[in-house]
């Protein structure tokens, strides 16, 4: 039993935090609201650091690491509201493609994709298999889409390159989500895996998504509570900082307590998935539910403590609020994951 990150993992996180503090300011996020979708110089920087290829096998130019390594980095990308699709590409697609590659499926198509992810030349959007008709986050501007279709042997997983798909943009509250509805035709050339094998890979992807997005939500919650605590120390009413009033203190303390407990829940789930623990799916659901609740509570409290200024476009808070609300619902809401958890607990009885 040693429930902690290694020094190396923490040093990597600190290095990524430093880079992102410079490369992904709130002005940069605002610029991304207006910019066209697609790979950016910031993505290239993250690839050079090894972040993008973190979970790509070493044979394909990556670091061959797992979710425990990714979680602290996803926290940092959440903290700065990174506009690029790191979690979809590195947290979901790369491990899925690596698993398929290791299993020898889908001939020789996968290796080059993994190479291109690691070198920063391929971003991936992944469709949530539970809601196949819904718009896909990151679909606009993605180089590759991993999508589900119905086939003769049950569901199939397809890898569709940007040239073979028409993506109709769907406006999102957070424009950097790059939501889009893909129109495409499944073919033997796009098919990666089908039937029971596909189900196993899809289930693993759902769990990884829950944990990686959970980690992003931790970073968002931390950023909002930190920003709001600073505001409460600064903003004066009745001749003193509003943060000296218990009504304000208790709002922020409540959010902080939720965040404190969400952290080990997410980290523990990352470990459970990496180590193939029998209750990993259950842990993933607890992680997504807990992190979603912690972040939406941090968002609620942050807006309330900021007051009217927090409701403006000018104040940076809304950038974090919008990402939080999107991610809290993405890949299963808190309520969805609590229902999934309870089903799993009942199945044991």
């Amino acid at each position: 039993m040693h429930f902690a990150f290694t020094d190396q993992q923490l040093e990597f996180r600190d290095a990524v935090r430093q880079v992102l503090a410079k490369e992904c300011t709130s002005d940069d996020v605002r610029a991304a609201y207006e910019a066209p979708a697609g790979r950016t110089s910031r993505w290239a920087t993250l690839a050079e650091l090894g972040v993008v290829g973190l979970s790509v096998p070493e044979a394909h130019g990556g670091l061959g690491l797992g979710l425990v390594d990714l979680a602290p980095l996803a926290e940092e990308t959440g903290r700065v509201i990174l506009p690029e699709p790191l979690v979809a590409t590195t947290g979901m697609a790369a491990p899925l493609l690596a698993d398929l590659d290791a299993a020898g499926t889908a001939d020789g198509r996968i290796g080059p994709w993994l190479d291109a992810i690691a070198s920063g030349h391929l971003t991936v959007a992944v469709g949530d298999p539970r809601w196949p008709g819904e718009p896909v986050a990151g679909a606009v501007g993605a180089d590759l889409l991993l999508l589900v279709a119905d086939g003769p042997d049950g569901r199939e997983l397809h890898g569709v390159d940007a040239a073979s798909v028409t993506v109709t943009p769907v406006p999102s509250l957070d424009p950097t989500r790059r939501l889009g509805t893909p129109e495409w035709t499944p073919s033997p050339g796009t098919l990666l895996v089908s039937g029971e094998q596909a189900e196993a890979h899809l289930a693993a992807t759902v769990d990884r998504a829950a944990v990686a997005i959970g980690a992003e939500l931790l970073g968002l919650a931390d950023a909002m509570v930190t920003l709001t605590a600073a505001y409460a120390k600064d903003r004066q009413q009745f001749g003193k900082p509003i943060g000296s009033f218990q009504a304000v203190k208790h709002l922020l303390a409540g959010a902080q307590v939720l965040l404190e407990f969400a952290r080990p829940v997410v980290y523990g789930a990352a470990w459970a998935l990496d180590s193939g623990s029998a209750d990993a799916s259950r842990a993933a659901s607890v992680a997504k539910a807990y992190a979603s609740d912690a972040a939406t509570e941090a968002a609620r409290v942050s807006l309330q403590v900021h007051g009217a200024i927090g409701y403006t476009w000018e104040c940076d808070l809304h950038l974090a609020l919008k990402r939080t609300w999107a991610l809290a619902e993405a890949w299963g809401s808190a309520a969805h994951h609590r229902a999934r958890l309870l089903d799993s607990l009942l199945a044991d009885r």
Partner: protein, 396 residues
């Protein structure tokens, strides 16, 4: 944390820890009384029945496993203690009547006590021959603990202190043999200064105990009156005038790692899911309305388990527990309430059944849980601590 940490994250207990678990499980299976078979520890009869059970635990060195062997423990670490607690609650063994001593005073005594104090007090605490209560709160010093008025007057002639004043809400106070209390030794000093931490024999002349019936009708706590109660110098814990610092160590244990082990809540949460399954089979529509509350309660217990392992690792690596202990206290007390609240909702009209001959574990647990957000420093005080010491918000 001087050594670089290269050890990868691992949430498995070691083989040795699992062997320790097996040993604890086997012992408890052979010795633990049937669940809920002892009378309540807040009655005279139940107090003695629980004392006898703890003596049995102590005889085979299971009462305080993490203490050094010299004082009755097994000298194992915090992780083994957590494993033992998992087995203890899984076996549905009785509540610990010595909890104020072993979980609160003992960690403070290990930090501040003299060798003589440790040798004198720890072994009978471990064996429950001497049971301790806590004398901190006063009628006018509750959340504002630094407002303590009970005094200790110096007596050089006798070589000690003469205590006077009133303490209240002393858990186990009705039946305990000893009390750890805070008294003002410097009448000129204000607030947190000038307090001293005393170990008081409840049989000393001048101590009067008035039991207070609690919300459930039992006398779990008491008022304590001190009229010129003499306490010799060797029963001062820590330095004279430094009682606040010593007390904060106790408070850290009370809110942090040692008072409420996660196993207690994990076990209750599992029982809640059992109850849910039972009701779901009988009345799917009705029970289904509680699904979200049941899942939330279970998650609260699981988060507490994981957070405890996270904190224990930090402590084993040389870190410390600071204001996180306040976050911890808020979490476990609210989780306990959420678990029992969800259970009562499932029970519906049966939830209120109580009285002679009615076994009402969920209602009893609910009444106990209601005290959680109040004792050990109210959750409102803990939120102030979190806001001021974790988030740096200014004091009022």
């Amino acid at each position: 944390m001087d050594e670089p940490n290269e050890q990868p994250m691992d949430l498995h207990y070691s083989d040795a820890q699992e062997a320790f678990r097996a040993e604890a499980r086997a012992w408890l299976a052979a010795h633990a009384p049937a669940p809920r078979s002892l009378p309540s520890l807040d009655t005279a009869e139940g107090f003695e029945a629980h004392r006898a059970w703890e003596a049995e635990l102590a005889a085979d060195r299971w009462s305080v496993v993490s203490w050094p062997e010299a004082y009755g423990g097994r000298g194992v670490g915090i992780l083994e203690w957590l494993v033992f607690e998992e087995e203890y609650w899984q076996a549905q063994a009785p509540l610990r009547v010595s909890q104020n001593g072993i979980f609160l005073l003992a960690p403070t005594m290990f930090e501040f006590g003299t060798e003589a104090q440790k040798s004198r007090f720890l072994p009978p605490m471990a064996s429950a021959e001497e049971i301790w209560c806590q004398g901190w709160s006063e009628p006018d010093a509750g959340s504002d603990l630094a407002g303590i008025r009970s005094r200790a007057r110096r007596s050089d002639a006798e070589g000690g202190w003469v205590l006077s004043g009133q303490k209240t809400w002393a858990s186990r106070g009705a039946f305990a043999e000893w009390c750890f209390g805070l008294f003002r030794t410097d009448p000129e000093a204000e607030r947190h200064r000038g307090l001293t931490y005393f170990l008081i024999d409840m049989a000393t002349p001048g101590v009067t105990v008035r039991p207070i019936p609690q919300i459930d009708g039992e006398t779990g706590f008491a008022e304590l009156f001190f009229e010129d109660v003499f306490v010799p110098d060797d029963l001062v814990l820590g330095d004279v005038g430094k009682g606040w610092n010593v007390a904060m160590a106790t408070a850290g244990s009370e809110r942090g790692l040692s008072l409420r082990s996660p196993a207690r809540y994990s076990r209750a949460a599992d029982r809640l899911v059992d109850l849910y399954a039972e009701h779901l089979a009988r009345d799917p529509g009705g029970a289904g309305r509680s699904a979200d509350a049941v899942a939330r309660a279970w998650m609260g217990a699981e988060a507490y388990r994981l957070n405890t392992l996270w904190t224990a690792t930090r402590v084993l690596d040389g870190g410390s527990v600071g204001p996180e202990a306040s976050a911890n206290k808020i979490h476990w007390s609210e989780t306990d309430l959420a678990i029992h609240r969800a259970a009562l909702d499932l029970l519906g009209p049966e939830a209120e059944f109580h009285g002679d001959g009615v076994d009402a574990p969920w209602l009893d647990g609910f009444l106990f849980a209601l005290a959680g957000p109040i004792y050990a420093g109210t959750n409102e005080i803990q939120r102030n601590v979190v806001a001021e010491r974790m988030l740096g918000l200014p004091r009022a």
